[in-house]
Symmetry: D2
Subunit: 388 residues, 4 copies
C-alpha cells in the first residue's frame, strides 16, 4: 500500500470525519463520575441532545454501539416470543431482524428489494389484518446505511395511528440523526435508536434511545431479561446528573462539543447542507452514467449515496484503488450487495470543498479502474454546489 499522504478522506457513511474540536474536547482528563462537575456535564448534554431527536422526553445514553442501542430498544419494551413487524430495507434492517430473533422475538420481515424504503401501505394492510393485536412493535430503519434509501416516517406513523393499532414504533436513526430532519415527538415514535459516530460527529462508543411515554409504560411490563440496558435506573440516576454504571466520560465531552457545533450551525442549516451535498453527489453519479441503488426519487438519503457499478466491475477493487491512490475510504457493498455497490458518505462534519474532493477522487478512481465515466461528474456536482 502506498504511504497515505495528507489528510485521510473518511467517506464511509460512518464513522464520519470527527471534527478536531470534538477530538480536542475528548482529550480532556477524565473526571469523577460521581462529582459535581460531572453532574453539570450530564445535565448539559442530556438537554442539548433532545432537539436533535426532536423530543422533550428522556434520551438514554449508553456506553455501547448502535447495535447495543437496537438491543436496548427491544429488551426494554418487549417480552419473549413477542411478534415484531420489520421491513427488509437493506443489510442493517436484516441485522436488526437477526438481533431480534436472537433475543427470542418473532419477526415478521416484509421482504424488500433494498432499493426502496418502507412501504407504508403494506404496513397499513398488515396492521389491519392483525385484529388480535399480536404485533407488539413495528421496527423501521429511517436511513438504510447499506443502501442510501431513507424511509419517510410520517406515513408509517399515520398507518399506525389510522389503524388504531397499539404496536410500538421503533425507529433506527443511526445514520440519519443529526444529518436528516427527524421528529421523535411529532411523528409519534416510541423509541428512537441512534449512536455517536455518524451525524453526531463523534467516534463510536455511545448508543442512544429516545423514549416516549408509551415506551416507558411498555417497559414496566416487558419481560425480556434486561439489566445493563434497562432505561429506568438510567433515567432515574440522570435526574441528578449521574448514571447507574460508569458512563463513557470522554465521549460525553465530545458529545457536548458536537452538540454545540450543531447548535452553532443551526439544525435547519445542517439538514439543508446534507440535502445539498446529496443532490450534488447524485448529479455527479448521473453524469458518470452510473445507476443509483435507490430507485425512489423521494427516498434518496441526504447522508450517503450508494452507487451501482457496471456488472463487469468489482466495487471493492475500485474502492481499493481509491484508498491506495487517493487516501480515501468509501463504504463497501454489504451483504448481497458485496462488490456490486460502493457507498459515498457525505454526512457529518463535511463541507462543499470536501465533497468536491471526495467526488473528484471517486471520478478518478472509477476512471483508473476502467469504468468509462467521463469528466462530467465533478462538474455537475459543482453546478449544484455553486447554485445553492
Amino acid at each position: 500500500m502506498a504511504q497515505p499522504i495528507g489528510r485521510h478522506f473518511l467517506q464511509i457513511p460512518g464513522p464520519t470525519n470527527v471534527p478536531d474540536r470534538v477530538l480536542r474536547a475528548m482529550s480532556a482528563p477524565t473526571i469523577d463520575h460521581r462529582g459535581p462537575e460531572f453532574a453539570a456535564l450530564t445535565t448539559d448534554v442530556l438537554e442539548a441532545v433532545k432537539p436533535v431527536f426532536g423530543t422533550t422526553n428522556p434520551v438514554v445514553v449508553y456506553p455501547g454501539s448502535g447495535t447495543g442501542a437496537w438491543e436496548a430498544a427491544l429488551v426494554n419494551t418487549l417480552s419473549p416470543g413477542d411478534r415484531v413487524l420489520a421491513f427488509e430495507t437493506g443489510h442493517f434492517a436484516t441485522l436488526w431482524r437477526d438481533l431480534a430473533t436472537n433475543l427470542g422475538l418473532t419477526v415478521d420481515f416484509l421482504p424488500g428489494d433494498w432499493r426502496h424504503g418502507v412501504d407504508a401501505d403494506a404496513l397499513a394492510e398488515r396492521l389491519a389484518a392483525d385484529t388480535a393485536h399480536e404485533i407488539a412493535a413495528v421496527c423501521v430503519v429511517h436511513n438504510e446505511t447499506s443502501t442510501g434509501v431513507t424511509s419517510a416516517i410520517p406515513p408509517v406513523s399515520r398507518a399506525l395511528r389510522e389503524s388504531g393499532h397499539p404496536a410500538l414504533l421503533l425507529v433506527d436513526t443511526i445514520s440519519s440523526l443529526g444529518s436528516v430532519d427527524y421528529r421523535h415527538d411529532e411523528w409519534g415514535v416510541d423509541v428512537t435508536i441512534s449512536c455517536s459516530q455518524k451525524g453526531l460527529m463523534l467516534p463510536p462508543g455511545l448508543g442512544f434511545n429516545a423514549v416516549s411515554d408509551k415506551a416507558l409504560r411498555a417497559a414496566e411490563t416487558a419481560r425480556l431479561p434486561r439489566s445493563y440496558w434497562d432505561w429506568r435506573p438510567v433515567i432515574e440516576a440522570n435526574r441528578t446528573g449521574f448514571f447507574p454504571s460508569t458512563p463513557a466520560t470522554n465521549l460525553l465531552y465530545g458529545l457536548r462539543e458536537a452538540l454545540r457545533m450543531l447548535d452553532e450551525e443551526g439544525l435547519p442549516q445542517v439538514f439543508a447542507r446534507h440535502l445539498r451535498h446529496a443532490e450534488a453527489t447524485r448529479a455527479a453519479v448521473r453524469a458518470w452514467g452510473l445507476d443509483l441503488l435507490c430507485l425512489d426519487d423521494r427516498a434518496h438519503s441526504p447522508a450517503l449515496t450508494a452507487v451501482l457499478v457496471p456488472g463487469e466491475h468489482d466495487a471493492d477493487k475500485i474502492r481499493a484503488i481509491i484508498l491506495d491512490r487517493f487516501n480515501m475510504s468509501l463504504g463497501a457493498g454489504l451483504g448481497k450487495l458485496r462488490g456490486k455497490v460502493f457507498r459515498i458518505g457525505h454526512l457529518g462534519h463535511f463541507n462543499d470543498l470536501t465533497l468536491a474532493g471526495t467526488l473528484s477522487g471517486v471520478q478518478m478512481g472509477l476512471s483508473l479502474a476502467g469504468v468509462p465515466v467521463g469528466h462530467g461528474g465533478i462538474t455537475a456536482a459543482l453546478d449544484v454546489l455553486e447554485a445553492a
Copy 2:
C-alpha cells in the same frame, strides 16, 4: 466551590488519572473500522492485552462499561433460572448479584461483612453440598472496589478443582486488572470481567471478557437471550481484525498506547508499584490512628484503601472539604458504607510523589474536618516509599 487550581488529583478508585500519552493517542482521527489499518490495530491490541489477563485465550472487547461486561459473562454462559453462587464482599458484589437476578438467574449470595474477602472454605462446603451440581457458576469479585479488600483467587480455584464440581468460575477484575497480579489461565478462571478505566488507565467505555475454552463450550448451550454481548461473532470477526458491530475506535487507540506503557514499565514492576503504594497508604492511615475497612492483613487491596472515619464524622463532608480545598476527588462510601468510609484510589498512572500529594491532602483534609489525626501519616508513608 473554590476555583479548582492546578492539576486535579483524581484519587477515586477509578476512573483513574488517564496518562496524557493515552489521551493524545485517543485524539487521533477515527478511521474506517472495515479497512486494513483498523485490522492491524485490532490484531495488535487483542494480542497485547492477553498478558495483562494472564491468558493465551481470546479476550472479547466491547463498547460498554464494566457493568456490561458483567452481563456479557452471564448471558454467554448461563440459562434462565440457572443457579449462581456469589459472595457478599461489598457493594459491587451486591450490584452484580442484582444484575444476575434481573437477568433471571437465581443467586445464592453468601453473606459477608464487607471487611473480608471470599471465604474459600465456605465455598468448598457449598460445592460439596451441591451433589446435584445445580450451581452453574461461581462469581467472585477479585478486588472489591467498594471496600479495598482483595480476594485471593487460587483458593477459590482449588475449592472448585478439589470438589470436582463443574461450575464455571467468573471473576470480576474491574479494579484489579493491570494493577494486581492476575492469572486467568493459571488459576483456571473461565470468564474474567474487566473494563478500561482503572488499571488500564483509559477513560471508561470498554468492557472486557477473557474467556476459557470451558466457557466457550458453555456458550454453545447457554440459553439466556443474547446478541450484542454474544462472544462468538466477536471472536469470529476478530480473527481477521474486525468486529461484528462498530467498535469504539478511539478507545482502542488509547488501549494500544496504555498497553505499551504497561509493557514498557513491565507488569511485575507495575504490580510491585501498586503494592508499595498500598503499603505506604496503610502506614499513613495507621499513623493517623484511623481504622482500615479491611480486617484481613492478607487481603489489603494494592489498588485502593478504604478508611473508616470516626463515628461522629461524616466521610462525605471530609471528601467535600478535600475537593473544595485541595482539588482532589476521593471515593465515597457506597451502599451501607455511605458516609462511613472514604476510599483512596492509588492505582493506574500513579507514582510516589502523586501518592505523597494525595496522602498530604487526606491528612490536611482530615485535620480541617476536625478529625484529630496528627502529623505522622505522611511521614510514615514517606518512610515506606523511601525504603522501597
Copy 3:
C-alpha cells in the same frame, strides 16, 4: 460571515495545514530543557533536519519567525556598511532588502518585474564588475512566496564560482524547504534561511539557518552587533544537545514528528507530489483562461501558484467570497500586487483530493464573483492528477 462549516481549507502559501500528527506531538507536556530527555530530542531533530536542507553542516534552530532567520543570516556574517546584492523578485525579496537596510547594510537591489526569477547573467555581470570585491553577500529568495516564481539556485552558484568572487551566498527557502528539491551543500550555499510553517508542516515559531564552513568563518569577523542570533553559542551548546537560551520545546516535538513524516513519504516523493500539484493547478488556471503571474515556464513554483485576476475584478473580493462561502483561505496579493492576484498554496500536508477541493472552491468562487471561467479548470486538473 457565514458559520464556517467542516474542515477549513488553509490554502495560503503558509502557514500550511498542520497534520494532526504534528499537532498531537506538540501537545505533549513541556520538559526540562536541561535534562537528558531534552538532549536526545535535540540530537534527533538536528540530525533529521539536515537532509531536508541537503547539508551535513550545522543547522541552527531559533525560537523566531522566518524574518528572524533572515536577520540571523545577515548579522552573523556581515559588518556595518557592508554591501549586499539582492534581486527584486517580489514582495518578500523587498522586505528582506528593507530588513538589511534597517540593519545598516547597503543593498544593491537589482530591479525585477515580480514575474521572473533571479537573472543569473545579470548577477555574473555585477560580480565581474565588482573587481574590488565590495559585495559581501548575494541574497536570493529561492521561492518567492508573493509571486509563485522559483529561482534556480545552481546558475547563481555557477555565476559566483565562475567569477571567483568571494561573496557569500544567502538563500531564503522559506516557502520551498521541504516542498522543493534543495541542496545547500551541493549548490554551495553559505546560509540557507527557513522557517517552520510551510513545507515543514509546523505552526509558525521556528526559524532556521543552515550554515556552511565559509559562513562560519565569516561569523568570526562579522561586526554587526549580535547576541540572540549568534550562531556560535547555539552550535556549541547543540553539541551536547542543549541550547544557550530556552528553546521552543513543543515546536521541537512537532518538528521531530514532521521530519518523520517527510522521511516516511521520502523526500523525492514529497518533491514529486508538489510538482504534480503545481502542474495540475496551472492546468486549471489555464483552462479558466486566467493568467499566471509567473511568466517563465521554467520557474513555476511547486509550492504555490499566483493567479492574475482580470483587470475589472478585485482579487480580495474573490478571496472574501471564497472564505465566506467555502471556508477556504487563499493568499492575498502583496505589495504592488494587492487586489490584482490571489495565491493558491499547494504545499505541505496536502494530497490530490485536497487539491481537487481547493481548485473546485477557486473555480466556484471565481464564477460567483462574476469572473467568466467556465467549467474546465477542475477537469483539467483532474486529468493531470489521474495521469500521474
Copy 4:
C-alpha cells in the same frame, strides 16, 4: 535511568507544568495570520495580557525566547556605546549583562553576592554621581531565576524619580510575571521583559516587551541596528490585529487560554497562592536544617526557592537521584552556584498537593543522597498549607 512512571513533576523554575487546557488550546489547527479570525485572536490576547503586566500601554509579543526579549528591550531604546547600569543579582543578570555587551553597550555592573536583591541605595548613589546623565538605562532582574531572590522594584523607581535622572528603567520579569505582583505603569517601568514559559504557563517560544511612552520616544532616536525586534511596526500592525511578520499562532492560542485561566482564578489569588507555596517551601527547607540561598527575608521569591546543599554534597547528584527515583526535575545551580544549590520551582500551574508531592520528593531525595534532613520538612510545609 529507571522508566519514568506516572506524571512527571517539572519543578524547575520554568518551563513550568503547562496546563492541559493550554496544550489542548495549542493543538487547534493553525489559521491564516492575515484573516479575520486571526485579527480577533490578536486583539483578544493583547488586551488580556495587559493586566498581567499592570499596564494599559502596548505589549509587544515576539516569536522568540526571553533572551530575545532582553535583546529587544535594548535595541529599541539604546544606541551603540550607550552606558547601562546593571546589578549582579545572579546568573541571569550576568547573562543579560553579557548580551548587552555583545550588542556594543557599556555595562556598569554593580557587583553582588547572588544572595541579595538590588541595592536601591547604591543605585541612588550612582545616579547622583552621574551628573552628566551618561547612564542611558538601568537594568533590573525582578526575580532572579538562578537565586530565588526577588528585587523590590518600587525603591528602584523611587531612586530614579528622586534623582531626577532621565535613565530608562528596564525590568526583566521572566520568572515573576503572572506569579508575582507586578505593576509596570504604577512603578514607572519603561520596558518590562518577559516570556511565555513561567508564570504564563505556556511552552517556551514567546517573548514580551511592555513599553512605556518614554520608551517609545526613546525608540525614535535609538541607533542600535534593529529590524526583527523593532517595536514600531509591530505596534502599528497590532492596531488592526496583525503582525508585520508571521506570529507564532498556536502559542497565541495557548496564551489566550492561559490568560483566561489567570483571570478565572484572579490575579490577587494567583499571587497569594505563590506566596503561600513559597512560604511552605521555606518552612520545609528550614525544618530540614538547610540554608536558603536568599539571605534577605524581604526578598524571598514567591516563584522558586534555591537551597544550598551542605558542602560535602553535590547538588547535581541529588537532583539526579530525584529525577531517577521520583520522576521529578529540579533546577540546577547555575554559573558559580553549579553543584552548590538546587532550585525548587513552585510557580505556574501548581497547587497545594503538587507542592506536597514536590517537597516529599525533595525530602526523600536528600535522605537517599545521605543529607541528614530528618522528617520534619514536609510536615512543616503542610502546617503552612493547612493554615492558609
